[in-house]
Amino acid sequence: MSVTLGIVTGLLMGAVFGFALEKSRVFEPGMIVGQMQLRNFIMLKVFLTAIATGAVVLAVLNGFGFVKLGPKAALYAADVVGGLLLGAGIALAGACPGTTLAQIGVGYRDAIFTLLGGIAGAVAFTYAQPWLAGSLIGTGQKLIFSDLIGIPYWQGAIGLAIAIVVVLALMEWARSWRADLGADVDGDHESEPGMGTHDRMAPAE
């Protein structure tokens, strides 16, 4: 495929991705920090729904032989160390690598610094990669759970999707997604809504 066609496809898909991230409000720092402080569950709801949908899509596409799966190799030390750093960065950024761009799109200025720091972090990793590849990262197999259990991928994927739907139903029953939005749909439940002052609301009269 030509690079140009790849770029056009990417822009169109990215626009849909960014549109959905904005509509779901999951890109808001208030949602992401709120999720990591376990007081706001919009992020987990969007995340799990997208995983379940992707699992059903891939169960069909792979089950009927249209596509091959491309899981990443299991590199446990790198997955744990990298995952911990990634999570720490997400909490302090109030964003993940994708939602940083959604924040820039809506005009959050601090997200420009997250982006620049992210590019610097990616470059720093690139310089260290030859050394890290031989030490921390190593090599591993592309393990998937359905192979470990000994069932076809499509059955495992449908099973995962069903399990996620059950979990989401329980989460929604415990707390409606509308309750997590906040007055200005940014996951902020303390400040006055709108573009007014940042003062905290007065204590109850």
């Binding site: 770029i7 402080q37 729904t49 899981p71 999570g87």
Partner: protein, 173 residues
């Protein structure tokens, strides 16, 4: 029915839309959704121009190669900003330059402190994502949908790191 002018959609509607993006990703580009490799492509392309020796590292050369997959992901990430901008304009939402939660989370309303924190956070976030070989999209959305064992470990570690950091280093939002 969700409207394009809504301020917020249900997380379930938005999540389904995001999950469906795996169809064009697998069928057209022959890859899964991901975003953090694009940071390497852009960073290595810029840095390689200043320091050509970087491009002698295979990892850098592989990411800046002029192929559809590399630049598809850069375009995807750029498209996210465009889509979010359009969605916000259609809904008439307005944002502060910095989310109001940060003055509480950081215990200071100084923009300089927030910008410095954001830069360091972005650095740690991408360093971690590249060590783990994926982020919330690549390991989370795509890896877990493919039942990947390594991705599940990475996502669990991501939430452990995120919850610990948000609890210990940030104040309650």
């Amino acid at each position: 029915m969700p409207s394009l002018a809504d301020k917020a959609w249900s997380p379930y509607v938005a999540g389904v839309v995001i999950g469906l993006l795996q169809i064009p990703a697998f069928l057209i580009i022959d890859t899964a959704l991901g975003t953090s490799s694009a940071y390497v492509t852009v960073g290595a392309a810029i840095t390689g121009w200043l320091d050509p020796s970087l491009l002698k590292i295979d990892y850098a050369a592989k990411h800046v190669a002029a192929n559809a997959k590399n630049w598809w992901q850069v375009a995807l990430v750029a498209g996210i900003a465009i889509g979010a901008f359009v969605s916000m304009k259609l809904s008439g939402a307005r944002r502060h330059p910095i989310s109001p939660i940060w003055s509480r989370a950081l215990g200071s309303s100084s923009p300089g402190l927030r910008y410095a924190t954001a830069f360091v956070a972005g650095f740690v976030m991408l360093l971690g994502a590249r060590i783990a070989d994926g982020c919330t999209s690549g390991h989370g959305l795509s890896g877990m949908a493919q039942l990947s064992v390594g991705s599940t470990v990475a996502v669990a570690a991501m939430f452990v790191g995120g919850i610990a950091t948000a609890t210990l280093l940030l104040r309650r939002v």
